[in-house]
C-alpha cells in the first residue's frame, strides 16, 4: 500500500498500523466501517446465492433441485441473512460509521469502544446464525417472520436463530445510540442542526428507530425462545396464547425497521444528487423534516401486515389510514430530489446513475406499497409474490442499489483509487435490467394469485416464473461484474484526488484515504448550509498544496 498521496505528509488510516489485531481491535471509526463492509459483503454473497438457488428451484413446477423442507429453510435463511445481517447494518454501519464523523467535522463517533463492541456483537450474532447449519435438524424453516405457533412447534434450530437475531438487534441498537450522541455532541462548532448534511439527518432518524423499536422485537423473540424451552403458551393457542399478539409485537419492530433500511439510503441520495448536479439541494428543510416525520409515523402502521390476520376490523381501518400518511413525506422527498436536478450542471457519473436507478425502483416499490396499504386490494395481494416483489423493489432496488451507489460515490475517498467507469456503468445496466425482469415478473405473477413461500406452484404460473428466473441470471452477471471491477480497482485503479466529484460536504476536504484523525486542516463550512457550491474553489485549493 504505497498510495500515500504526494501532498500530504500524514499517513492514511490504512498505514497507521498493520496486522490483523490492529483491525479487529481498532478504535478508528473508518476501520470499524470497513470491518462491517467486508462482513456484510460476505453475507450478501451467501444470501444472494440462496436467492439464486431459490429461483432455480422455481424455474418449473414440481421439485427441481431441493426438497420442500430445504426450500423452506432456504428462504428463511435468505430472509434472515438479508434482513438482519445485510440490510439493517448495511448503510448505517458501513457508510454511517465511515462518513458521519467526517461529515460532522469530527474525528470519531462518540463512543469508539462501543462502536467496536457493536461490530463484535454482529460477528457473534452472525456466527450464532451460521451455527444453525451445523447441528440438529438444520436452520429454521419458519420464514424470517417466525410466526407463532409454527415457530413454537417446528423442530428445526429456531431458538438459536432467534437468539442470533436478538444479539444482532443489540448490535444495531448500540450503533444507533452511538450516532445519536455523536450528532448531538460532536458536530463542528459552527454546524447547527439545519446545517448538517442530509445524510446525518437520515441517520439520526434511523438511529431513533433502531433504539426504540429493536428492544421490542428482541424481547418478543426471547419470549418465543423461552416458550420453546418451557412449553408455556405465551403465543401458542393450545396453551392459551394469542398468535395475533405475536404478530403485533413482531411488526411493532419490523415495520419501523423498513425505515431503518430506507432512511439512510434516502440520506445518501440527498448527497449524491446535489453533488452530481453541482447545485444546492432543493428544499433542504423539507427533506430533513420529512425524515423525522417518516420515522415518527412509521411507528404506528405496523398493523398493515396483518390485514387478513383476524385482527379487529376497526384496527385494520386505522392502520390502513396511517399507512397512507407515511407515503406523503416520502413523496415530498422524491419530488425534491427531482427538482434538485432542475437547472443543475449535471455530471452523469456511475453514482448518479445508481441513484436514478434507485429512484425508479423505489418508485415502483413505494407505489406498490400503496396497493398493499389499501384494505380491499391488500386482501387480494397479501402473502403473494406480489409482496415479495414489493419488498425486493424497496429493499434491493432501493437500499441495496443505494448501497452500491454509495460504494461508487465514496470509493475514491475510502481507498484513494478510482474505478473503471465504463465497466461500472455496464454492470449497473445489467443489474438494473436483470432486477426489473426478475421482480417485474414476480409482481405480475403475484397479482395473478401465486402465494409466496411456495415450493411448488400451479402450471398457470409457470411462464412468469421462468422469466423471473432468467432475470436473476442477468442480475447475477451484473452484480459479479460490479464486484470484480471494484476489487480490481482497489489494487490497480488510478490514484484518486481529494475531491473527484467536486462535492462540498466535509468528507471532500480530507485526503483520500483520510488520515487517522481525518482532518489535516480546519474544515471549511459555508454559512449558507452544507450544499453551497460557491465554496468549491476554496475547498479544491487544498488539493495539491502541501499543507503545514
Amino acid at each position: 500500500m504505497s498510495e500515500t498521496v504526494a501532498y500530504t505528509v500524514e499517513k492514511n488510516f490504512f498505514e497507521e498500523k498493520r496486522g490483523l489485531f490492529s483491525w479487529i481491535f481498532t478504535l478508528d471509526h473508518k476501520r470499524v466501517a470497513l470491518l462491517y463492509l467486508y462482513a456484510i459483503i460476505t453475507f450478501f454473497l451467501v444470501g444472494m446465492s440462496l436467492g439464486f438457488l431459490m429461483r432455480l428451484e422455481l424455474f418449473s413446477p414440481g421439485g427441481q433441485i431441493v426438497d420442500p423442507k430445504t426450500y423452506n429453510q432456504m428462504f428463511t435463511f435468505h430472509g434472515v441473512i438479508m434482513i438482519f445481517l445485510v440490510i439493517i447494518p448495511s448503510i448505517p454501519a458501513v457508510f454511517g460509521n465511515f462518513f458521519l464523523p467526517i461529515m460532522l467535522g469530527t474525528d470519531d463517533v462518540a463512543f469508539p469502544k462501543l462502536n467496536l463492541f457493536s461490530w463484535w456483537l454482529y460477528v457473534i450474532g452472525a456466527l450464532m446464525a451460521l451455527s444453525t447449519l451445523m447441528f440438529g435438524k438444520g436452520p429454521a424453516d419458519t420464514g424470517w417472520t417466525f410466526y407463532a405457533p409454527y415457530s413454537v412447534t417446528s423442530d428445526t434450530n429456531v431458538s438459536m436463530l432467534l437468539l442470533a437475531a436478538f444479539v444482532l438487534g443489540f448490535s444495531s441498537i448500540l450503533t444507533g445510540l452511538n450516532f445519536i450522541v455523536t450528532i448531538h455532541r460532536l458536530r463542528a462548532p459552527e454546524m447547527t442542526w439545519f446545517k448538517m448534511p442530509l445524510f446525518s439527518w437520515g441517520l439520526y432518524a434511523t438511529a431513533w428507530i433502531q433504539l426504540l423499536a429493536t428492544p421490542i422485537v428482541g424481547i418478543t423473540l426471547l419470549m418465543v425462545v423461552v416458550e420453546r424451552a418451557f412449553g408455556i403458551g405465551l403465543f401458542d393457542p393450545s396453551l392459551g396464547g394469542d398468535p395475533i399478539l405475536y404478530q403485533h409485537l413482531f411488526w411493532i419492530y419490523s415495520h419501523p425497521v423498513v425505515y431503518v433500511m430506507i432512511l439512510p439510503a434516502m440520506g445518501i441520495i440527498s448527497e449524491i444528487i446535489p453533488t452530481s448536479a453541482q447545485r444546492v439541494i432543493f428544499g433542504y428543510k423539507a427533506i430533513a423534516i420529512s425524515s423525522m416525520a417518516i420515522a415518527f409515523l412509521g411507528y404506528f402502521v405496523w398493523g398493515h401486515h396483518m390485514f387478513t390476520s383476524g385482527m379487529s376490523g376497526e384496527a385494520r381501518i386505522v392502520f390502513s389510514f396511517i399507512t397512507f400518511l407515511v407515503a406523503i413525506p416520502t413523496a415530498i422527498k422524491v419530488f425534491n430530489w427531482v427538482a434538485t436536478m432542475y437547472k443543475g450542471s449535471i455530471h452523469v457519473t456511475p453514482n448518479l446513475l445508481w441513484s436514478t436507478a434507485f429512484i425508479f425502483n423505489f418508485l415502483i416499490g413505494g407505489l406498490t406499497g400503496l396497493i398493499n396499504g389499501a384494505l380491499a386490494a391488500d386482501v387480494h395481494v397479501h402473502d403473494t409474490t406480489y409482496i415479495v416483489a414489493h419488498f425486493h423493489y424497496t429493499m434491493f432496488g432501493g437500499t441495496i442499489f443505494v448501497f452500491f451507489g454509495a460504494l461508487h460515490y465514496w470509493f475514491p475517498k475510502m481507498w484513494g483509487r478510482m474505478y473503471h467507469v465504463k465497466t461500472a456503468n455496464i454492470a449497473l445496466a445489467l443489474t438494473f435490467i436483470g432486477f426489473n425482469v426478475t421482480y417485474g415478473a414476480m409482481l405480475t405473477v403475484g397479482m395473478k394469485g401465486m402465494p409466496r413461500r411456495y415450493y411448488d406452484y400451479l402450471p398457470e404460473f409457470e411462464f412468469l416464473n421462468k422469466i423471473s428466473t432468467v432475470g436473476s441470471w442477468i442480475m447475477v452477471i451484473g452484480l459479479l461484474l460490479m464486484i470484480t471491477n471494484l476489487i480490481i480497482s482497489r489494487r490497480n485503479g488510478k490514484k484518486a484526488p481529494r475531491n473527484p466529484w467536486n462535492g462540498v460536504t466535509l468528507e471532500w476536504q480530507v485526503p483520500s484515504p483520510p488520515p487517522l484523525h481525518n482532518f489535516d486542516h480546519k474544515p471549511i463550512l459555508s454559512p449558507n448550509g452544507p450544499y453551497d457550491f460557491s465554496i468549491l474553489e476554496q475547498i479544491n485549493a487544498f488539493e495539491d498544496k502541501p499543507k503545514e
Binding site: 409454527y150 412447534t153 393450545s238 398468535p243 387478513t308 413523496a331 436536478m341 425508479f360 380491499a376 395473478k448
Partner: protein, 303 residues
C-alpha cells in the same frame, strides 16, 4: 382482471386499477422528467448551475396533492373492504377447517367434503378453524383471503357469480407442504347444488379411506409407498419399524392395531425414525371406536 367471478372482484379490481393508474402517472412522469433533466442540464449543455433553495409554494402543492390522492385510495380500499366484513344474515354457513396440509368443508347437514361446492349467486359464509398452525384460505379468482388462526374463530364470506371451478390456496406459510395445501371451489347452478347437497348415497370408497381423506391423513401419509411428511400407509400394518421414545432411546415395534391407535392419540410418544416429532397432531377423541376399526381395516387392505 374484471372477471366478475365473485361479488368482490369488481370492487377490488377497481381499487387496484385506480391506484395503479395514479402510480403509473407518477412513475412515468417522474422518470421522464429525471431523464429529461439529465439530458437538458448535462454539464456540457449547462456548465453553470443555478442555485434554487426551494419553494414553499411547491412544497405545499406536492404535499397537498398526494394527500388528496391517498385519501381517494384509502376510501376505495376501505369501501371494498367493508363489504367483505359484512356478511348477509341468510348466508349458507360452511365450516372450513384447514390443517397441515389439507382443507375440509363441513355443511350444515353434516356433509363433509374436501372440495368446496357452492351454489351460484348465493351468499356463503365460511367459518374458519385451524387445529394446528395458522393457515390462510385464499381464492385468487374471488379476490378474498382470510387467516385461519388456531384458538380464535375467524370467518369470511362471498357470492360465487360465475359457474366454474376455481383454486383454493393456502396463503400463510404453514410448513413443509404449504404449497400443496390446495383445493377447489366449484360454483354450480342452484338446482345442481341442491341435488348434490341432498345426495346421501353411500360413498363407493372404503369407509376407512373416506375417514383418512376427510381427516387430512392422506396429505401426510401416501397410499402408494411414497415418502411424504409421514411414513406411507402402504404396507404399514404389521410393519416393523424403529421408533424413538420420549427419552430418546430406540426401540423396534410392530405396527399392530394397538400401536396404530396409540399413534393417533399420542403421536409423539413413539416417533418413527427419520421422521419429525411434533408434526402430527393428536387425534384424541376425534374418532369413535367403530371408525378406528374401519381405518385399521382399510390399512390392512393396502399391504
Amino acid at each position: 382482471m374484471f372477471t366478475n367471478a365473485s361479488n368482490f372482484t369488481n370492487d377490488v379490481d377497481l381499487t387496484l386499477a385506480i391506484i395503479i393508474g395514479i402510480s403509473l402517472f407518477f412513475l412515468i412522469g417522474l422518470t421522464v422528467l429525471m431523464i429529461y433533466f439529465m439530458v437538458r442540464y448535462h454539464h456540457t449543455r449547462n456548465p453553470k448551475a443555478t442555485d434554487i433553495h426551494g419553494s414553499v409554494k411547491l412544497e405545499i402543492i406536492w404535499t397537498v396533492i398526494p394527500t388528496a390522492l391517498v385519501l381517494v385510495m384509502f376510501y376505495y380500499g376501505w369501501a371494498g373492504y367493508t363489504q367483505m366484513r359484512t356478511a348477509p344474515k341468510d348466508a349458507m354457513v360452511v365450516k372450513a377447517t384447514g390443517r397441515m396440509w389439507s382443507w375440509s368443508f363441513e355443511y350444515p347437514n353434516g356433509k363433509i367434503t374436501d372440495t368446496l361446492v357452492v351454489p351460484k349467486d348465493k351468499a356463503v359464509k365460511l367459518e374458519l378453524f385451524s387445529p394446528d398452525v395458522i393457515h390462510s384460505l385464499y381464492i385468487p379468482a374471488f379476490r378474498i383471503k382470510e387467516d385461519l388462526v388456531p384458538g380464535k374463530p375467524n370467518w369470511m364470506w362471498f357470492i360465487g357469480q360465475q359457474e366454474g371451478s376455481y383454486s383454493i390456496l393456502c396463503a400463510e406459510y404453514c410448513g413443509d407442504r404449504h404449497s400443496y395445501m390446495t383445493s377447489k371451489v366449484d360454483v354450480i347452478p342452484s338446482a345442481d347444488f341442491d341435488k348434490w347437497y341432498n345426495d346421501n348415497s353411500a360413498p363407493k370408497e372404503h369407509a376407512g379411506l373416506v375417514l383418512l381423506k376427510q381427516n387430512a391423513c392422506t396429505s401426510c401419509h401416501s397410499l402408494d409407498g411414497n415418502r411424504l411428511v409421514g411414513p406411507s400407509f402402504k404396507g404399514l400394518f404389521e410393519r416393523k419399524s424403529n421408533v424413538i421414545l420420549e427419552d430418546e432411546s430406540q426401540k423396534t415395534i410392530v405396527a399392530d392395531s394397538a400401536y396404530i391407535v396409540e399413534s393417533l392419540i399420542e403421536p409423539n410418544k413413539k416417533v418413527v425414525e427419520s421422521y419429525s416429532k411434533g408434526m402430527m397432531q393428536s387425534y384424541k377423541d376425534k374418532f369413535t371406536d367403530e371408525q378406528l376399526g374401519q381405518i385399521i381395516d382399510y390399512l390392512k387392505t393396502i399391504k
